[in-house]
Amino acid sequence: MTQPIDTSIYAAITEAIQAEAHRILAEGEVTAIVGYAAARRKGSAQPIIITDAADSVKLIFTPACVNNLAVYLTKAKKDIPKNGKIGIVVKGCDLKALSGLMGESQLKREELYLIGVPCAGVLASTVCPDQELTGDSIAPKCTECDAHLPTGCDFVPAETLVTPELERKYAVEIARLEALTPAERWVYWKEQFAKCIKCYACRQVCPFCFCEQCLCDRNKPQMVDTTPRPAGNTAWHIVRAMHLAGRCAGCAECERVCPMDIPLNLLNRKMAKELKELYNHEAGFEVLDKGPLNMFTEKDDQSFIK
Amino acid sequence: MEKPLNYSYYPGCSLHASAGEYDLSTRELFKALNIQLTEIPDWFCCGATPAHNVDELLSLSLCAKNLELADQIEGDVAVACAACFSRLKTAQHVLGESAVKRKQVEKALDAPLKLDGNVKHLLEILAKDFGLERLAAAVNKPLTGLKVACYYGCLLTRPTDVPNLDCVEAPTIMEKVIEAVGATTVPWTHRMECCGANFTLSRPGVVIQLTGAVLDSAKAAGADCIMVGCPLCHGNLDIRQKEIEGVYNVQYGLPVFYLTQLVGLSVGLGSDKLGMDAMIVNPTPLLREKNLL
């Protein structure tokens, strides 16, 4: 059943973002702002980097503002001129990624001006950008969102959100897969990974894939086969999920951008679920000194070890 | 106007039986303080003192199920009985520590555990959540001149790391609460000693000896009365008092109050709303003497 989701406040948020962006650019508090702007196709939005206060009117926030802009701040991806503070528009999920990046010494809080967005959800990658936001058209990650309202930002529009309780799509799907036999799960993932063409969109949009040289691009030694064959694809996605375990902030960009519709975030959610159960770790707004896989306690579970 | 506090209320079996006045005074006091108590629907026995000695899984499961029931109601779990409090806290502690036991209990209950709720003794609610300042402000009839021996017994603070109510061996929370409503407390030696608890039925001799030492100590310290937060302690100190006086040929005449009775008195509740008539050692002469009735 289609459950409508109230996004009426997005217009007010857009105005507030524009005003704040204008102020901080005009007052020289930041040198650039990473935000969203409308794009050519109807209802669509795209990332934009503005440096001129006059361009603040271009900034928007709509259910089509799907990107996690944190990716533009990591060094391997983009070089936004680093001669001052940078403003960035962040949803709660994006802010978790920023917190993770700060914990991994990739960013410094004092170099950022965070414009937080109260967000009721954004659209799924499978629907056209001009659709209404509903319980069906919403991005799966938003059904499990616990961070509708970012905190600890420099600026957050004072809007009140109404967020309906939705069926947790990943939890449901993970439970379904967990109930299968290993052989059945293998068949499922084999079909999914077979579609992969190694375009690496999943890697390139991931805020945490900030390595200058990806392990999977190396050939001395060749840890992972680079060709887009089922074997290499499977290895790539396993390694990717493992490298993100304990780091992934759950923005689900990998899954959103996959041109082959591989449910990549399922792997990340599964890892998050395990880390929660094993070590009570959850990605949040807090900047952690050490991720769950960079630390240990003597009492950690070892029931699987003989 | 402050937001009213909400709790799910776990009275426990005693409060529905021998300690009816504790239940009554708790409900009345919280009503007077505008603290919302919602009795947990369909709650049942926590297993009390026998279960964990016989079958640990059963005792954990009973508590876990009660906590699951409590989860339906918004707010932390308020517990009056020190034994119930101890059992619920112990279950949370044990299940929190052991994944194996958690799995066993989950299997027994056939449901995922909900252990996150805070279990709080009434003392904690009064002293910390409601706050001593607000409590003092709510007093209509300060208990001035009443010398109270606060009796903790064994279970309220022990063992280490489980109830986390206060310092394990040298707590002060009872004193703080009762001093906040105007009473005077006496320093005494036996406030943490055992009263004999439910040996009262099987080995009354032990109870007479142990409870006698507690009463002795309170009397020696110059107390007018004893305040408790546990129906078992209350039973021994109050019901057995006459018998002990006979055995040792002494006179104590120490009324034994539940903390909610004394605090209730101070906020102006009448003795009918506090179940004073259910007490064996008649408190009326003392309360008259102190102009509290």
Binding site: L177, A183, V187, A235, M242, I305 | -
Partner: protein, 165 residues
Amino acid sequence: MQPTKQNTFEPKIIAFVCTWCTYAGADLAGTSRMQYPSNVRVLKFPCTGRIDPVFILKAFQQGADGVLVSGCHPGDCHYIAGNFHARRRFAVFRKLLEFVGVDLNRLQFSWVSAAEGGKWVEVVTDLTEKVRSMGPMTEFKELAMEEQWSGAINTPELQEAYNSI
């Protein structure tokens, strides 16, 4: 040995072990002349902390039917805490493998100290026998043979598949 042996499946077991405890434990099994199946191939590392999950993946891809990772007991690590880090890493990695459909009966973790020659024999024997009863690990091997449809060429098998339609 029995001549029937060549007809039965002999699993390939790869063991990733730390040099200070498990490797020494395996040495002790040797000096004590204990006997165990010859299926295991040992790769020595300074510490379980050095063992990358990718190695396990690679081992399966290269045809291992079972993988063993073994190091020092908690608290015994020659490098203070390498095994503690490894413990977390593999606790998570095995869950991932399980989720993508690898039967975890093929992946064993153990603590074997330098004094536990007997335990080494037990762990290796148990894993070998368990994997033997499970049969070959076909998943990764089959995967290695597969192509995207567009890269496939006519093979007798493919032709047969078409014929059977």
